[in-house]
Symmetry: C2
Subunit: 591 residues, 2 copies
């Protein structure tokens, strides 16, 4: 059984430890990573650096995580158990039906599902609008380092969401909104060819080790219900799904056979399991479909094309649009958030910002406001493939039309010519779109357009998107965002190699790369870098300059006046940065 | 002997061939890559796609390339051979002196160096200002697909440069300027630990295979002269250097011992060899040095810190600044271009756009204009580490102050927290800065800050920067830039897998990634993608929609009116995208 706990995490670098921020008054513990640092060469202590952690406490996949939020939910006295739909064997597909069981049954506790008591709404938006501060709000306020009133007011206005289904009490609350740090989603999904259910759990844990803030389970095919059960019971982050995928399985893959009843049943099945947000492609209207006919790449969203095909085949308006109010009523009973799918997003630069895309966005704006009437939380999905100069327009238009509802975008890719490198082509667009207000970024892996991501691809995708999210936070001037950059750069300047690695997004890789050139242990503490070697180092001479001119303007002025004298001293004191050490290999500059 | 010719190039994908654009009237042949394409499913032919090629004709490293431009240079009758400085054994360092030879001597032809005849200037800027159209200008006009008068006028105004030393006749002219496609530089440099000279040539060839437009040889240490000789004789792209590195070798690494005379001698040595552009850190003035004292990361440029240390140690103004006019006179005799180094560039987000950086930029602007008085071509180097929201200011300020002289930037990195991934952190900034006018991007490899790049790192760096340069071209609306995106997306939509791979920046990697999921040969031509599998494909349903609604507005309107009838037809014709093929493995969606 693959089991990644916080203890054997890839992030469990020698300078890292898992700790908690504690609000004793409200009995709230927020997980963080504490990164210790060495002293500076002059003896000054460097405070440990504390970062946001999404990995959770770690779990045995067969037993799941403890239900962190269960007491908070019960304490509000607005939920009840009921005669639930529960699991049906056909939810796991034809093979399970034949076998009479899923390939791997859930072994842990089976809690009866909860829903709102009649007449109640149990969404964080509802509480926020009532002026109630929930433990979930306190948790995210502590996590983000902001005032809890900011959390409440952003939730009430619909400008932020806390996706946390009352049936997923294992999750640690997190917030998605432009006033908060930019978040990253990782997609996983089983493949009958290669994955077991436990492996899928391991992939979810792997993604959160590297910092994924939410995970979407896009599984299709066999054992879809049980796979989701295992993932939910083990996930410390919100889980999103695209329920139309499972609905399609239930009708044997024939999208023309889809009905509202089958879809509704699937949604309730997933609400009861604890899915925190669901992608609903309710903006693909019958009249928009012909707008895609002249595109270079037509409709590239799976959900979008299922609904487009259904609308055409039946010559009817989308059942998702027609029954949208009913969906809102269901979501309000479990606190499931809408992720309004952009089924007509562009799949190529040529199709960016076209009539089909923006027509759908108008409808998504309408659907946002309709959900808000039910106090249901909403985020809106965005593209796709967009040339860099058109990216900003996307987020500004979405924010304006949707009254600030959080934007959740896939990239966008800023060129189509680099399959195999689309984590990079999309990170460029992602940073730009987040800079102007996108609240969460859906990662893209190197396998995009080509195949299914493996573990390495998942890691590469998450780290690339942590870079994009962080760079956007810095560009937005998000409070404290640059602190980690400054700490790492200070460590770099002071030749504290271990601290430089420890403060980086991927300490092990940074250390490995360094060791390829200078494997010797003494090099870790040596006062030169591997680019220039012991013979000359620009960082070293800069330190000499600082030693000359000190650390304040006044000192600098004094120093400047006495420069002639100082220059003599400088030369007398050596005036060179040659640090002869015959034990070190000679390495040379490449810049 | 490592030997990569165009024939065994990694880019020699099955659909690629090396061809030439020919201007018969002027006897000019410009290399291009021709990418053949299959017909569309409806039988329409897809024209072969032609792209800019930088790989050159290929060479045996021991013999070098033919001197393509030799006749053009002689035909102007403004150059002469002379009693040249030539090579001295000490140019290759102490080991060569002891041995009486470099470790690997150049085996090919030794041409006597050329320089301008007395009173002549042989720079492309000079010719352009005289209204003369040179073969070099015709070559780049054909290469860029623009009118040659645009080339001439941009050169004359200093807004573009063609770096091509008359002693490097092997190079194929290329142009760097904001009116032209964005270019990419790759740094290489020998390391006594691991590289032989022939391997360094192979690295240069490897970088150009992947599309590097220029290469900087940043070698230091042993055999520096001979390494450069081999590289120059084999390079189809301009070669840049930082001569202060070699000058420092000549004084045993003691930067206080540097003198103008030693530097001048090194510059002439490299001019005679054929170096096309040289980084000169003449903007690091004595009075600017104290401005760096309070920085988080001081001075991170090697050349910058050498000069800062020298200025401080001698309490004198930089000899590069003091003797700048003499440098201009030398460069005008060989057509060497200045790459004015930003020795005070920020090495961390914290130091971006500070007083030291912009003080130096003021001086670089002054130096630009002084070089132009000698008709010497100039580009200006830029940072470094810059948060995304401050990137645009950098290029706009440089363009304004330096009257449009081409900007040549390293990244910039938009965050400091991801060592090991700085090709990505910097590609984000590079795309942004190029979008607003940077003409050439210096690549950053994953090893930046950590160690020396190996072959894989060089490839990753070049491809990442080709993405940035291309995305910027698209965002700028550069004529024709999006054609390749459109061709690839059309191939993707039509399930022409081989064409999709062939049109990508790295066909082999794209194909390998695809084959990991669907290795079977039939999958290459199958009408479904590996994400959704044969059971359902969104691209496929989009094609069905197109088939319904046709390709023109009018057809779409007609189709919309008759939608009810069409929807019946759609269903009667199958109305589903199920393509049962039991021989294919079942694969599942991950988005």
């Amino acid at each position: 059984m693959t089991h990644i706990s916080a203890q054997n995490s890839p992030l469990n670098y020698s300078t890292h430890s898992a700790e908690y921020l504690v609000d004793e008054e409200h009995d709230i513990r927020v997980p963080v990573t504490r990164i210790s640092q060495d002293d500076s060469p002059d003896g000054t202590a460097n405070e440990p650096f504390t970062t946001y952690r999404t990995t959770g406490p770690g779990s045995d996949p067969t037993r799941g995580l403890p239900p962190l939020r269960a007491e908070w939910i019960q304490a509000r006295q607005d939920v009840e158990t009921y005669q639930a739909r529960g699991r049906k064997l056909e939810d796991d597909g034809p093979k399970a039906l034949r076998r009479g069981t899923a390939s791997q049954e859930w072994q842990g506790e089976d809690r009866p599902p909860l829903r709102a008591r009649p007449g109640k709404r149990v969404t964080q938006m509802h509480y926020a609008r009532q002026g109630v501060i929930t433990p979930e709000m306190r948790f995210v306020a502590l996590r983000e380092g902001v005032n809890v009133e900011l959390v409440r007011s952003e939730l009430a206005a619909g400008r932020a969401i806390i996706p946390n289904n009352i049936n997923h009490p294992e999750s640690e609350p997190m917030i998605i909104g432009r006033a908060f740090s930019v978040k990253v989603n990782a997609n996983i999904g089983n493949s009958a060819v290669t994955s077991s259910i436990a492996e899928e759990v391991s992939k979810m844990q792997w993604a959160t080790q590297w910092g994924a803030d939410t995970v979407m389970d896009l599984s299709t095919g066999d054992d879809i219900h049980t796979t989701r059960e295992w993932i939910l019971r083990n996930s410390p982050v919100p889980i999103g799904t695209v329920p139309i995928y499972q609905a399609l399985e239930k009708v044997g893959g024939d999208h023309q056979a889809l009905t509202w009843e089958i879809f509704r049943d699937t949604v309730i099945e997933q609400c009861e399991q604890g899915v925190d947000y669901m992608t609903i492609h309710a903006g693909v209207l019958l009249r928009y479909v012909p707008l895609t006919a002249e595109r270079v790449t037509g409709i590239v969203s799976r959900g979008g094309s299922i609904m487009a095909g259904w609308c055409l085949g039946h010559h009817k308006e989308s059942f998702l649009y027609e029954h949208y109010d009913e969906l809102c009523e269901i979501f309000a009973q479990y606190d499931v958030a809408f992720s309004l799918g952009d089924g007509l997003r562009p799949g190529s630069l040529a199709d960016a910002n076209d009539a089909a895309q923006f027509a759908e966005l108008d409808t998504l704006a309408e659907l946002t406001q309709r959900a808000w009437e039910y106090d249901v939380q909403v985020m809106v999905e965005g593209p796709g493939h967009i040339p860099l100069h058109l990216v900003r327009e996307n987020v500004e238009k979405q924010q304006e039309l949707c009254h600030g509802a959080p934007f959740y975008t896939l990239g966008p890719l800023v060129t189509d010519i680099a399959p195999g490198y689309d984590h990079i082509t999309s990170a460029i667009g992602a940073t730009e779109i987040a800079r102007y207000g996108t609240a969460m970024l859906c990662y893209v892996t190197p396998k995009e357009h080509l195949g299914l991501p493996n573990r390495d691809d998942v890691k590469t995708g998450v780290i690339t998107y942590k870079i994009a999210a962080h760079a956007a936070d810095v560009a937005k001037g998000h409070p404290g965002a640059r602190d980690r950059d400054d700490a790492l750069s200070k460590a770099r300047f002071e030749f504290r190699w271990r601290d430089q690695f420890g403060l980086s997004l991927d300490p092990q890789t940074a250390e490995e790369f360094h060791d390829e050139t200078l494997p010797a242990e003494p090099a870790k503490t040596a006062h030169f870098c591997s680019m220039c070697g012991p013979k000359f180092c620009s960082m070293r001479i800069s330190q000499d300059i600082r030693n000359e001119f000190g650390d304040s303007d006044e000192q600098a002025r004094i120093a400047q006046e006495g420069m002639a004298a100082k220059s003599r001293e400088f030369r007398e004191a050596g005036g060179t940065v040659y640090l002869p050490d015959p034990s070190m290999p000679t390495v040379r500059a490449t810049k």
